[in-house]
Symmetry: C2
Subunit: 415 residues, 2 copies
Amino acid sequence: MQVEIITIGDELLIGQVVDTNSAWMARELNKAGMFINRITSVSDGEEEILNAIREAASRSTIVLLTGGLGPTRDDITKAALCKYFKTQLVFNQQIMDDVETFLKHRVGHINQLNKDQALVPEKCDIIRNPVGTAPIMWFEESGLIVVSMPGVPTEMKHAMENEVIPRLKAKFTNGIVRHRTVHIFNIPEAVLAEMLSDWEDQIPAFLKVAYLPSPGKLRLRISGKGENAQQIESAIENAIKLLYPLVKENIFGFDDEKPESSLLNLLFSKDKTISCAESCSGGLMSHLITSVAGASNAFMGGVVAYSNNLKYNLLGVDSTSIEKYGAVSREVVEQMAKGACKRLGSDYAIASSGIAGPSGGTDEKPVGTVWLAWSDGEKVISRSFNFGNNRERNILRTAEAGIIIMKQLLERGTL
Amino acid sequence: MQVEIITIGDELLIGQVVDTNSAWMARELNKAGMFINRITSVSDGEEEILNAIREAASRSTIVLLTGGLGPTRDDITKAALCKYFKTQLVFNQQIMDDVETFLKHRVGHINQLNKDQALVPEKCDIIRNPVGTAPIMWFEESGLIVVSMPGVPTEMKHAMENEVIPRLKAKFTNGIVRHRTVHIFNIPEAVLAEMLSDWEDQIPAFLKVAYLPSPGKLRLRISGKGENAQQIESAIENAIKLLYPLVKENIFGFDDEKPESSLLNLLFSKDKTISCAESCSGGLMSHLITSVAGASNAFMGGVVAYSNNLKYNLLGVDSTSIEKYGAVSREVVEQMAKGACKRLGSDYAIASSGIAGPSGGTDEKPVGTVWLAWSDGEKVISRSFNFGNNRERNILRTAEAGIIIMKQLLERGTL
């Protein structure tokens, strides 16, 4: 059984919106043992939508559509579906009631565009949408299932989780797919691939390995498909065990685990607190940490000391050190980390100071030069990096390295 | 002339990676007057890649591929292209030299996987890649152009900007496409669509309008296609002029303009500085502002006062106010904003305090309750919101509202 995704919307084809729906849907369907065959994005044109459905139907038994169901004129997915399934729009009182309930406290009055949401193709099963006004449509004909969902991510996700995936699971039993992803820090792709060449030969043939590089880190994805979940899972676990002696120090996480969540869990278990003293990372380190629910149990706060004055006033950095060594230096970043523990009242602190660019670099300290420090208030460990010449990437790599290395220092008992 | 994009990689179909390449490529091609017909994502399977190329070639004259060119075993795009164009891999000394130059300072030694990058299909034009090791391949046969680029965004972008788009432009003259996007704050989609119904009838038929909603804001995209650039552009400008009386107060930007960039430009022009005092937005406001190159000319810094102690110690909030009104209150957020101007030495400050969730809500102040304040050190303006029950969205909407409203207050001379 093959599943295809078709995302509909001019905004996708002119690049104004990045299609994040497909990746989310693929992940959730995978967990349920369903495999995506192809993802297609087409414009809000009737012919384009019809062609995409026809082609998908020729390859796959399940076709999931998102988008083109809004109340506005540019949304024509319903019309295309009526044409494909040779049916017509009819008024549905239940949907009308749902739209009214949903909009009651949200808009002043319900207009004709809202009311038109209650017009639905006659030849489909309607799935109600409690988080929006566009109903979900489930078509089933000669062994083909086509489901049309709104493109708004929250509405699509609600429909998938609560209705579409449970219904598909009830209808089909499938081969089982399992993935594990190992996060590896600071080894370039080709170097890692060579280190792992023997390992790749050693693991069972039904496991597939993929290298997914991104700035400063790499995700190694190990996938298995088969009939026996336990067999696949233990083969994957074995493969990971064999991986450890090869890249141990550089493994910093698994699957969807985020370094900031792992760091916070470690702090919770030790009943310790942390703070951030940021210069070049500009608040991103605090943002990553506070993105995790419950962060307030361990995160005291942060200072974004962009100006040198704030490095003195809020973090207690010695002004002569800045004059002597410059703000981007071992001396200053170490004082920032120790100062943060004291002034922000935390057990540990991470500090950053660097030249994010595009300007501000010198021959001695080019753009991308970053100092990071980690402290427990007494001891302080620091390290310099050069992350290259892209501002966005420098900020991201600084914040991530600060968090990943803090976690490693705590795990190893160095701090 | 139609252009299609095919993105290749198992990671796309299992949802581990969001395809951001296509959106970027579509935007850049649009600027050059080329229109994307369809975007397809397929796995690293030879049959899948071949089928996708065959189908795209039947609809379009230009097919752009990204991905599957890495040095590791899971990358098989080159093999598929050899099959499609009935050719074979040959060794290319120039690519070998490029790979050696590129890797010289990056890896200890150049391994066989790196060297294999110099094996390229005989029947194509090779475009050198100065920012990576995988060469770009340009195939041209019976009126069909197929270009294969690496999936790593920086490498793809470099190839597109410097080689692929200039070559395509030189080869084809096209119809002209223009887009303008108007950013609108705080009006739900269906309400706006009704407000603009007459306006949509009034604008020329060759202009197309799309509503692109996202949390708390909406982008209205006006597109025109034709032969005369000036005619399209002035029709779009006219349409925007007609829009102003209808939604003026709520327009907060155009096209790729980000609110944080507009705010900084406004501050630069007034020679004024700003700081942030964040509680529930957790550093994101500072991060958004410092993402803009040159931010340090107006951004003094920020405090992420997650614990109440830091609200007293770093921002000078009166501890009795927190006891009396709670940390999420008009009184506290106003003191945070005024305190930030003073303690962080800035002309203006934005402050946030709220309940991001998932826990911490009460009947009186449910999850999503957010107070924001804007101050010039003397005057202070504050406003409460409820952004709903999703932590990520609460953090984002708090940070964005803080920045957008600060910009509006400065533009209107209220602060």
